[in-house]
């Protein structure tokens, strides 16, 4: 399979590595932040957001029209892989819409505790941080 791989320039994502788009990735230089522009007939690139708080990393992906069953979330070594496909009936008959995106996850996480939730067309994956990188609060004793 032919696929495209590219690296986004790093800015605020010091803990997160590169992104990969296995197919149909628009050039990062002309990529629009509008996810609606990234649609095409049979594969697309869902918009992905990354967040963190003290205890977790969060990966959010917009996947409208997918059902829970059509979405796969996998952790493979140091990668979180989001993929899925669904059928859509259009003017020219049935077509398959699929996506495949992966995110390099930091080392200090509990991969066995990764949890995913899908609601209103929005997938949220929670990746708990390992205790070692959580900020440690020390109470001041009087």
């Amino acid at each position: 399979m032919k696929y495209l791989t590219h690296r986004y320039p790093q800015n605020t994502r010091s803990l997160w590595g590169d992104f990969e788009d296995f197919f149909n990735a628009p050039s990062p230089f002309m990529s629009s932040s509008n996810p609606l522009l990234n649609w095409n007939s049979d594969s697309y690139r869902p918009a992905i957001d990354l967040y963190e708080d003290e205890s977790n990393y969060f990966v959010e992906a917009e996947l409208p029209a997918f059902s829970k069953k059509e979405i796969d979330v996998e952790v493979e070594k140091d990668r979180l892989i989001l993929k899925g496909s669904r059928k859509e009936e259009g003017k020219n008959g049935k077509s398959e819409i699929s996506f495949h995106r992966s995110v390099l996850i930091p080392n200090a996480v509990k991969t066995e505790k990764v949890a995913a939730k899908y609601e209103n067309g929005l997938l949220t994956v929670t990746i708990p941080k390992a205790d070692a990188i959580k900020p440690l609060r020390i109470e001041v004793q009087s």
Binding site: L36, W39, E62
Partner: protein
């Protein structure tokens, strides 16, 4: 042109710093109804408003995934936005019979054909 649904809004415009987007939608017609599927990722039922006025269907959906303040952004591709769609409905649609359901970020509207617009069979006596 014999279309009963016509989009009357530009795809994205900015009003009072809220970003309005026209959602992606598809229209399927069958003999008795028109089905409209509108993609509204992140929009919950409570944040969706719909109305039909003077043959115009209006819908507005705010993305409700307000994240907790403790979440720091590491990388963003999505945009905070409000979806807005205005569609002109033809006279051939039974407005009182419009049905709507929201599932997996997709709003499905069924627009039944008005009785007067359905083909009528006339029995030969």
């Amino acid at each position: 042109m014999n279309t009963s649904l016509t989009s009357t809004i530009a795809s994205a415009k900015r009003e009072n710093s809220t970003l309005y987007f026209e959602p992606r939608f598809t229209v399927h017609r069958s003999e008795n109804e028109t089905r409209l599927r509108v993609e509204l990722p992140g929009v919950a039922k409570d944040n969706l408003e719909m109305s039909v006025n003077d043959n115009e269907l209006f819908l507005e959906g705010g993305v409700s995934n307000q994240r907790p303040e403790s979440w720091k952004v590491l990388h963003r591709e999505s945009v905070d936005r409000t979806y807005q769609l205005r569609l002109r409905l033809g006279d051939l649609i039974d407005k009182a019979g419009i049905g709507a359901s929201l599932e997996d970020g997709v709003l499905t509207l069924t627009l039944p054909k008005a009785e007067s617009a359905k083909p009528r069979k006339i029995k030969v006596k």
